[in-house]
């Protein structure tokens, strides 16, 4: 009962923030709302027992993503052009949502311990991680040791993204001179 109340309150807050972010026209407000969306989602992750994910989402979503967006906002105008609510994209979004709801009916029950996702590889990781690797945090042992190759790919993706940004935004090593202040 406790879990249900906290979960639904956080979800309601997330929906309100998302709708406000769509309707807001001042870009500074939109970016702050997106940062607070990430922060409330991080709280929600803790309620759902995903503490590592909550840590990463709070640091990355509410931290770095907001900083980069604000750095972009310093270069672009602050107001969005007024636009009416478009009927065709709304129809496409609602139609896609209804199709996904049809799929939700077939999914295993929420919080069910006998769902297929809990029966194949995950019990092996939970029972053998203590003896084979000896690290208390199961997520770290799966991330670094059992699925270490995927983490290698992830680090290379971060590296590639950094190189792409530095190529696109060339000239970042040049020292700032006083003539840059117009």
């Amino acid at each position: 009962m406790n879990f249900f109340v906290v979960d639904s309150l956080l979800m309601a807050l997330l929906t309100i923030i998302a709708i406000m972010a769509v309707r807001q026209q001042r870009l500074l407000g939109v970016i702050i709302l997106s940062g607070s969306y990430s922060l409330i989602a991080a709280t929600w992750f803790v309620v759902l027992d995903a503490v590592d994910v909550a840590f990463t989402e709070a640091a990355v979503g509410a931290g770095v993503s907001t900083v980069l967006a604000l750095a972009t906002l310093s270069q672009v105008p602050d107001q969005e052009k007024k636009r009416p609510i478009e009927p065709l994209p709304l129809l496409v979004a609602v139609g896609a949502g209804l199709l996904l709801l049809l799929a939700v009916v077939d999914m295993p029950s929420f919080e069910d311990p006998t769902a297929p996702v809990h029966t194949h590889v995950a019990p092996h990781y939970i029972t053998l991680s203590g003896s084979e690797i000896g690290v208390p945090n199961i997520v770290t042992s799966v991330l670094s040791s059992y699925r270490g190759f995927d983490t290698f790919g992830e680090v290379v993706v971060v590296f590639t993204a950094a190189i792409s940004v530095l190529i696109v935004l060339a000239g970042w090593t040049r020292k700032r001179k006083s003539k840059d202040r117009a």
């Binding site: 503490v51 590592d52 909550a54 840590f55 990463t56 640091a59 990355v60 931290g63 770095v64 900083v67 980069l68 750095a71 972009t72 310093s74 270069q75 672009v76 105008p77 602050d78 107001q79 084979e132 690797i133 000896g134 690290v135 208390p136 945090n137 997520v139 770290t140 042992s141 991330l143 670094s144 040791s145 270490g148 190759f149 983490t151 290698f152 680090v155 290379v156 971060v158 590296f159 993204a161 950094a162 190189i163 940004v165 530095l166 935004l169 000239g171 970042w172 090593t173 040049r174 020292k175 700032r176 840059d180 202040r181 117009a182």
Partner: protein, 169 residues
């Protein structure tokens, strides 16, 4: 922003504390939530705070952009190097059991090394991205470029109203 005494004093206290917390998260990733990615982002935010409060020139002096580039590559090399070390010691790629005589100790060593590589790369990527974004020319110069563009458009097409809708603040 460095003229404001409150911000200056508080950030001077906070920056070493943030770095210490980042290192704590890095090395305690085995025992609680944490690990390389979270630690890298937290460690980088100390340098970002320094650059925001005390100016970009001082921020660049602490961690120069050339060294940031080297650190981005060094982290990936450390990760790949640990994998190759497993192969050299007659195991598979990224096999940690062969790194030390005891397999469990070898796993611990392997996890420590790769998390360090991940943390180094992520921290230097965040700092490098911020330096790249914040080193663009000032916004006023962009507005001056906008005015020049509008005048050029009005000279070539005096009766077109399309280009005058360009970003005007």
């Amino acid at each position: 922003m460095q003229d404001d005494p409150v911000i200056r004093v508080v950030s001077k206290i906070l920056i070493p504390t943030i770095m210490l917390f980042g290192l704590y998260v890095q090395f305690h990733g085995d025992f609680g939530p944490g690990g390389g990615f979270q630690a890298g982002v937290i460690f980088a935010s100390a340098f970002l705070l320094n650059a925001i409060v005390f100016g970009m020139n001082k921020g660049r002096h602490v961690w120069s952009p050339a060294f940031v580039l080297q650190c981005i590559a060094l982290g990936v090399l450390i990760y790949g190097g640990t994998g190759v070390a497993g192969m050299v010691l007659s195991g598979n790629f990224l096999d940690y059991n062969v790194l030390l005589t005891d397999p469990v100790a070898g796993q611990h060593m392997g996890i420590l090394l790769i998390e360090f590589g991940v943390g180094l790369t992520v921290a230097s990527v965040m700092v490098g991205l911020f330096f790249a974004f914040a080193s663009r020319p000032a916004h006023n110069r962009l507005l001056a470029q906008d005015d020049v563009r509008q005048e050029k458009a009005q000279k070539t097409k005096p009766n077109a109203t399309a280009k005058t809708k360009g970003a005007s603040k």
